[in-house]
Symmetry: C2
DNA sequence: GTTGACCTTCGCCTAGACTCCGGGGTTTAG
DNA sequence: CTAAACCCCGGAGTCTAGGCGAAGGTCAAC
């Protein structure tokens, strides 16, 4: 079986090779398929999944979007917009929402950090826990 | 039954009253007990849990520590240190670790934010998704 | 004395993103 | 030909912090 009888010239991959190429596990590929992030692939007569290597690019897209903080559901939406010709405005709106979310998280964490910094600075770190200013501060924080 | 036959003078609460006083659900109280954050309470003859209101303070401590980003396991450690006379250094070390963790999260989020800001700014938001700079940027990011 | 509010345990459900397992069938290397 | 490596599917398990509900016992009020 040489380079084959399909109209596509791209490499045709089994799930294992695809997974390796994309840097994910086999289960992850099947999982993405179930979640609708990857289309159902063709099958061999034995039922094996067969992929073109455009699928590897799709998985890499998913990985990068994940690194930007998008959830799989959000990524599924991004992919649907690509697949079915959505509008730029929709993509930008998702990006903007994510940005808002991230900004909110950052402020939260900064607020927490400043409290923890104060606590950490207030404690000598010597002796046993009785009268530990950290514990006492937590005990008497506004609820 | 007036204010009672126990050596403690504090109010004795059923789980429902305790939960209400502490601002959590009943299930949460039982869950904290299972997780070792609350000691096993006394029981009435019928098997009802009975708490002194020091327990409410303990739950409030848990809630505040949670707000500072500590996990329940970490809080359990803090409580053990209080209960069994740990050292200030241990408390401070936990605080310091949490601080490091939070700083790491903040830098992560800031990095992501700056990417998303660039992406958002690069997109006109007009027209359909073909050639959307956000999509393209994600497609060609370094993996 | 009976309703309704409260309590008990047990065990399953949630979200997010996988990951592993078991019991098969298939393909490939030697 | 056979053993290793690969693939299939369905389902269960992981982690966090609880939520929910059933089936049944108790307690307080009217």
């Amino acid at each position: 079986m040489a380079n084959n009888n399909q109209s596509k010239t791209s490499a045709r991959l089994t799930i294992g090779r695809l997974a390796k190429q994309a840097g994910v596990g086999i289960d992850t590929v099947r999982f993405y398929e179930r979640r609708g992030l990857l289309p159902e692939p063709e099958r061999t007569m034995a039922g094996y999944r067969v992929y073109g290597d455009d699928t590897a690019a799709r998985i890499l897209f998913i990985r990068r979007a994940k690194r930007l903080g998008f959830t799989l559901d959000e990524i599924a939406t991004l992919l649907r917009l690509q697949d079915h010709g959505g509008k730029k405005a929709e993509v930008r709106s998702l990006t903007q929402h994510k940005l808002d979310e991230i900004n909110a998280k950052i402020s939260d964490l900064k607020r927490i950090r400043s409290v923890l910094q104060d606590l950490s600075a207030s404690c000598s770190g010597k002796g046993n826990v009785d009268g530990c200013p950290i514990i006492e501060a937590i005990s008497s924080m506004p609820t």
